[in-house]
């Protein structure tokens, strides 16, 4: 039943034969994957296998690393994002990112969330900006905790709150795709559960890609799972299938804890 639904969804990001080199290191090897809209896609695999690297290809954050070279084709709704005519700055407004370590700016909670909308001129006035900030904070399940202290520094929040603030900051620019690189690795179990609930809800509006080192987390939050191994992506399928009946031997070994 779920297969029928997910298969009906449009393809948001299409990647074809993507290769990434850091100088002489060949970090991503011929990875092709179609990421669906309104779906949570999990990237799992042993550390150092290239999950973060591949994730950063999708919003061209790899451009900020001098030695990093990306080849292959990645399309966002049919447009080649590495095309010379595409401005990475505009691309990143459409493809948001949440990092492993919460990184709120040294500004007030309000200014953190309003940062993206202000830069992109999304809000017409103060009232609209207030609205955007409130709705982003509500979606990130943080509104009730911070509504009375929007002007206090974002860095003064707890780790879990900071990460939800970063998620609110990312969704305030109304991206179409949200990339999350191990968003819960610095969080305690309660904060992790909150963020996972949040991801669940985000799925209704966005295409979410989450890197995680926890297989339980992948199983809990995602509908699709891609398994990475030594720069290759041996298997990509419905999460259920990957965890119950993987077709690749390496996936099976990883799932059953043979390595990683």
């Amino acid at each position: 039943m779920q297969d029928a639904i997910t298969n009906a969804l449009a393809i948001k990001v299409a990647c074809d034969k993507v290769n990434v080199h850091y100088g002489d290191t060949h970090a991503i090897k011929d990875v092709s994957i179609d990421i669906q809209d309104k779906t949570v896609t999990a990237f799992i695999g042993p550390s150092g296998c290239g999950k973060s690297t591949f994730l950063r290809c999708i919003n061209r954050m790899n451009d900020t690393i001098d030695i990093c070279k990306v080849t292959g084709r990645i399309e966002l709704e049919g447009d080649d994002i590495y095309d010379a005519g595409i401005d990475p700055v505009q691309l990143r407004a459409r493809v948001g990112m949440v990092f492993q370590k919460p990184n709120p700016f040294p500004k007030s909670i309000y200014d953190n969330v309003a940062y993206g909308p202000r830069i992109h001129g999304i809000a017409a006035g103060k009232a609209e900006l207030d609205e955007i900030v409130e709705s982003a904070l509500r979606k990130a399940a943080l509104w009730n905790e911070v509504k009375d202290r929007l002007q206090s520094p974002g860095t003064g929040l707890s780790g879990g709150q900071q990460q939800r603030l970063c998620i609110a900051r990312a969704i305030a620019t109304a991206p179409e795709v949200l990339l999350m690189d191990e968003p819960c690795s610095a969080l305690d179990p309660i904060a992790t559960a909150q963020v996972e609930d949040l991801i669940h809800e985000l799925r209704e509006n966005y295409s979410v890609v989450i890197v995680t080192h926890s297989m339980q987390q992948a199983a809990r939050v995602s509908q699709k799972t891609a398994f990475f191994h030594l720069g290759f992506m041996p298997e990509y399928d419905d999460t259920e299938k990957i965890f119950s009946n993987p077709s690749d031997k390496r996936t099976q070994d990883y799932i059953t804890g043979r390595f990683g």
Binding site: N59, M61, T64, V89, Q90, L91, R92, A93, R94, G96, M97, F99, K101, N103, P104, F105, P106, K107, Y115, G116, I119, H120, P153, T155, C166, R169, A170, T173
Partner: protein
């Protein structure tokens, strides 16, 4: 002799170190588990022998001089010193000492020659006695330390105690010299304020620090109002900051965020060379290049009234001097902003310049503000450039094209040449110095406050 004594201390302490360490190593080789590592046993010997010897020598040298002088003075023939005052006596003693060290002017009296010979004898006796006693102390220390080597002996704790004692001593020296400097300033300034009312100094608007040579001289009374002087300092400082802050900050931002690695590699050392230029050279630059250029451009071309020594020339050159100071502070502060901030902003679709302006710069503000305030302190205390390029006459003005003088310039001119330390003209320098100290201290306190406030906000 004193040199040999120090050499002896060095050598024998090292011997004690090696003896003790080897003894401890032997104990360990014999199979016992030592409480402390052999080096600590060695260090214990070093401390036990070297420290008392060193302290002894220093004390000896401190008291030797006055003791020997007292003996020599007592030996002077009664008829030669009869009826002489303390001043004349010390003159004779100075002559004796000069004769003793071989500096003979004219024909010293016979009793002076005798006293000089006696002086030299006493000194060599004292030196030998010191040498022998130090040898004894060192030997005793080594002996005691060597006897203490045992598996259970807590050499490490003792050595650590000695080390922490040394550190306390060092910080005490630092603190006491500061207190001493401040105390001497306060003391001399107090003498000044006994001659000139403090209200005249603080609120007076005229600075004419001359004193009458004859009682009936016209306009012989000086005026000691510091306001025009401090105002001159502030005007020059302000001009310097106007040059240094924007240029320093923007160059730091450019080099840190936008420049290619190659350009950065070339430009940074050049900026640092600027920091190494002696201030005298900046002074040349100000009087030989900047001031004439200002005169010919502003005066001849624009027809502005420009005095030969302008606050603008001195201030702008001082600003150039401060550029590397500010840019290196800003550079450090920007580099210290974690990469995750940068990535976070870029990932939201911000451009490089938006990221710098809205995230990196605010995050770097504590460091930058600290740097700017320290630069202000330096500008206020800077002496050489203003001595060369600013004026000497104190005028109460904020016109940058006028000649102004600064606190440091006045201190220098007040103390240059033949001065006696009992008239207000000379003592005024100390009052100015005290005020300068208070102003810079207040600035530094404010700088620390500001930095801490921002830290609280951003950490």
């Amino acid at each position: 002799m004193v040199g040999y004594t120090f050499l002896l201390i060095l050598l024998l302490s090292a011997v004690g170190f090696v003896l003790n360490r080897n003894a401890a190593q032997e104990l360990r080789a014999g199979g016992s588990r030592l409480h402390s590592l052999p080096v600590f046993h060695g260090g214990y010997a070093l401390a036990l022998a070297g420290l008392p010897a060193l302290i002894f020598v220093l004390l000896w040298l401190m008291f030797e001089g006055s003791f020997v002088s007292a003996l020599v003075r007592a030996s002077l023939p009664a008829e030669a010193v009869a009826g002489l005052g303390a001043g004349e006596l010390s003159l004779i003693m100075a002559e004796v000492q000069q004769t003793a060290s071989g500096l003979i002017f004219g024909e010293p009296a016979q009793y002076v020659r005798d006293a000089a010979a006696y002086y030299n004898t006493l000194h060599s006796i004292s030196d030998w006695a010191m040498f022998a006693l130090v040898l004894f102390i060192l030997a005793g220390g080594i002996f005691l330390a060597r006897r203490s080597v045992a598996t259970e002996f807590r050499a490490r704790q003792r050595v650590e105690k000695v080390l922490s004692g040394l550190m306390i001593f060092a910080s005490v020296i630092a603190i006491f010299t500061t207190i001493g400097i401040v105390a001497s300033l306060v003391f001399e300034a107090a003498r000044f304020f006994a001659l000139v009312p403090i209200t005249d100094f603080l609120f007076g608007t005229a600075w004419e620090p001359q004193i009458a040579i004859r009682p009936d001289q016209i306009a012989g009374a000086g005026a000691f109002g510091w306001l025009p002087v401090i105002l001159g300092t502030l005007v020059i400082t302000f001009i310097a900051l106007l040059v240094a802050v924007p240029v320093g900050l923007l160059s730091a931002i450019y080099l840190n965020e936008f420049a290619s690695p190659l350009l950065r590699k070339i430009a940074k050392p050049i900026l640092e060379v600027l920091a190494g230029v002696p201030t005298v050279v900046y002074g040349f630059f100000a009087i030989l290049v900047v001031a004439p250029a200002l005169r010919s451009f502003g005066g001849d071309t624009l027809g502005l009234p420009i005095s030969p020594n302008t606050a603008l020339a001195a201030g702008s050159v001082m600003g150039v001097m401060l550029i590397p100071f500010i840019s290196s502070f800003a550079d450090d502060a920007l580099t210290a902003v974690p990469r995750s901030m940068r990535d976070g902003s870029l990932a939201l679709g911000a451009t490089q310049s938006e990221t710098v302006l809205k995230v990196l710069f605010p995050a770097a503000i504590p460091g930058i503000v600290g740097g700017v305030l320290l630069a202000v302190s330096r500008a206020i205390g800077e002496t050489m450039i203003v001595v060369m390029a600013a004026g000497l006459i104190a005028t109460l003005t904020i016109n940058p094209l006028d000649s102004v003088t600064t606190v440091t310039v006045q201190i220098v001119t007040l103390l240059i040449g033949d001065t006696s330390f009992d008239n207000p003209k000379t003592l005024a320098a100390f009052a100015l110095g005290l005020m300068l100290f208070i102003v810079t201290l207040a600035l530094n306190v404010v700088a620390l406050r500001v930095v801490r406030k921002y830290r609280e906000l951003y950490d």
